[in-house]
Amino acid sequence: MDAVKRYFRSPAAVTGLVLLLFVVAMALSASWFYPREPLALAGRPLIWPFSNPRFLLGTDNSGRDIAAQILYGARISLLIGGVATLIAIAIGILIGAFAGYYGGWVDTVLMRITEAFQTLPNFVLLLVLVAVFGSTLTTVTIAVGVVSWPAPARLTRAEFLSLRNREFVQAGRTLGMKDIQLILGEILPNALPPIIVYASVIMAVAILLESALAFLRLSDPNVASWGNLIGLGRDVLRVQWYVSAIPGIAILVTVLAVSLVGQGLNDALNPRLKGR
């Protein structure tokens, strides 16, 4: 409860939460405001924002409603960001837990693999994965998750290293608990808080990675995504710069919200570190 109180005492954290709720509301209300397919033609192409009440944010190069694409894009960004983060955290915990708990050669092998993933620039690996497996919504989400796991793996490993010989774990071992019981039931719950806080960083980066991929036209072209729209707007950048500008602000707000919430959680859960 103290943590909740501390969270709401920080203006930055509250701002982040409000922004995040706003983006979630955008995602939820998309089909209520715009029951039609967001990628369907809606009107004349390249109508400026605020000039036609039917198209509040104007239309893009091919006459699709920008406002509808922004709302539906919130779904895609949150979906890809959320699922990719879950994948990254799951792989990270699995590898970090085994490496940290068992140590020895298991640790060496797993850390070598982690190092390999960290040495290869993650966007380059993302390009390789997309080149091999194609760019549908599912493959892109999995690919973003697969390139993001090394950091949580290292974090989990560090937590496990410091926890594995604590008294409560030794007590469990004396009681005859199996390794898997100790890892999942005893150590993991104690190692989880910093990993959950770090998830916000992964999610922010995941959203940025997907939007960059979409901007390069290497993500799924059949969904309304903010990155796709920015890439499309690039063709008319000279005059109708708003086509690219509007979705960029949406990405900025979302990533800002996620990082503010993450930082707020961190400060609320570790009050002694506040201000660092």
Partner: protein
């Protein structure tokens, strides 16, 4: 000498990592639809199956996958990265041509982010929780959340289209055929916007780390001693605090080298710079898998080299590190 040996050992330890990456990506690329010969046949405008078989035999693609992998690694030892069918020349020379703009861009962005990260971090930490600190922290958060490609596009709109101060893309003015200092100035002018675009997110990270690490060091006993000696605040910061506060910043360069290389893929595409990043993007679009594998190799190599350099700098900044090793 000791420093060199230590860094050398770390360098040697990265060879298995490099091998692991190459084997992994090589096997991964076996799942890709189509191979080099398919790409070549498409380039030639189609051909019969017999020619395809012939070509596969010529490039050793008819062998088993372990044999192909062995061949590839053996050629790598001799620095032969294979042949790019799209560009019609060896992959090594394609990559070598594209390397200078990327290295220039990365160095410029890193210097920009590092320098201004220190400056803003120090300003923020000196007046912690006052308005300059708040302003810098908010700017840092916004920069961190800004998608680089979007910032690049908006910079083009403002500086190239409306104000017409800077070129919108390209590496140099090809029509002008400049030499010497004029060519350098021309390239510099073309690199201003890409440098800002790529450096922005790193500026945000560096200023945050610098602020945090300044705050930590400023509270240490030896800083109080320096103040008690009667040194003025500027002296304390520059001579005593900065050197120690720089350590996490230098570590970060090593950690971020890969991210920066990845970021250059996007930035080079926005500003149509003929660099390694753009080559990576083109080879994905054109399914030039040999080149893609070569880029994976070179970019991993670059990251390893940067980390080697960071080790050396680190040991120079903090003599304790080499003493312990």
């Amino acid at each position: 000498m000791r420093i060199l040996r230590l860094a050398g050992r770390r360098l040697a330890a990265s060879i298995p990592t490099l091998a692991l990456i190459l084997i992994g990506v090589f096997l991964l690329l076996q799942f890709a639809p189509g191979d080099t010969v398919d790409a070549m046949m498409a380039q030639m405008g189609g051909g019969d199956a017999a020619t395809a078989t012939e070509l596969r035999k010529f490039y050793g693609l008819d062998l088993s996958i372990p044999a192909q992998l062995g061949n590839y690694l053996w050629r790598l030892v001799r620095l032969d990265l294979g042949f790019s069918s799209i560009y019609g020349k060896p992959v090594a020379s394609v990559i070598l041509e594209r390397l200078p703009p990327t290295i220039l861009l990365m160095t410029a962005s890193l210097s920009f982010a590092f320098f201004f990260g220190i400056v803003f971090g120090v300003i923020a930490a000196r007046g912690v929780n006052k308005w300059p600190d708040t302003l810098i922290s908010i700017l840092g958060l916004i920069f961190y959340a800004t998608p680089s490609f979007w910032f690049g596009l908006m910079a083009i709109v403002v500086f190239s289209i409306y104000l017409q101060w800077l070129p919108a893309g390209g590496f140099e003015n090809i029509g002008a055929l400049q030499t010497g200092i004029w060519r350098t100035l021309d390239i510099a002018r073309h690199l201003v916007l890409p440098t800002l675009t790529l450096g922005l997110i790193f500026l945000a990270i560096y200023l945050r780390i610098m602020r945090a690490s300044m705050l930590e060091v400023l509270n240490l006993d030896y800083v109080r001693t320096a103040r008690a000696k009667g040194l003025d605040e500027t002296r304390v910061v520059i001579r005593h605090v900065l050197r120690n506060a720089l350590l996490p910043m230098v570590t970060l360069i090593g950690l971020q080298a890969g991210t920066m290389l990845g970021g250059s893929v996007v930035v080079e595409s926005v500003f149509s710079l003929p660099g390694l990043g753009r080559l990576a993007y083109e080879s994905v679009v054109q399914r030039d898998l040999n080149t893609l594998l070569g880029i994976v190799f070179v970019s991993a190599l670059l990251v390893i080299i940067v980390n080697f350099a960071v080790d050396l700098v680190y040991a120079r900044l903090d003599p304790r590190i080499s003493a312990e090793g």
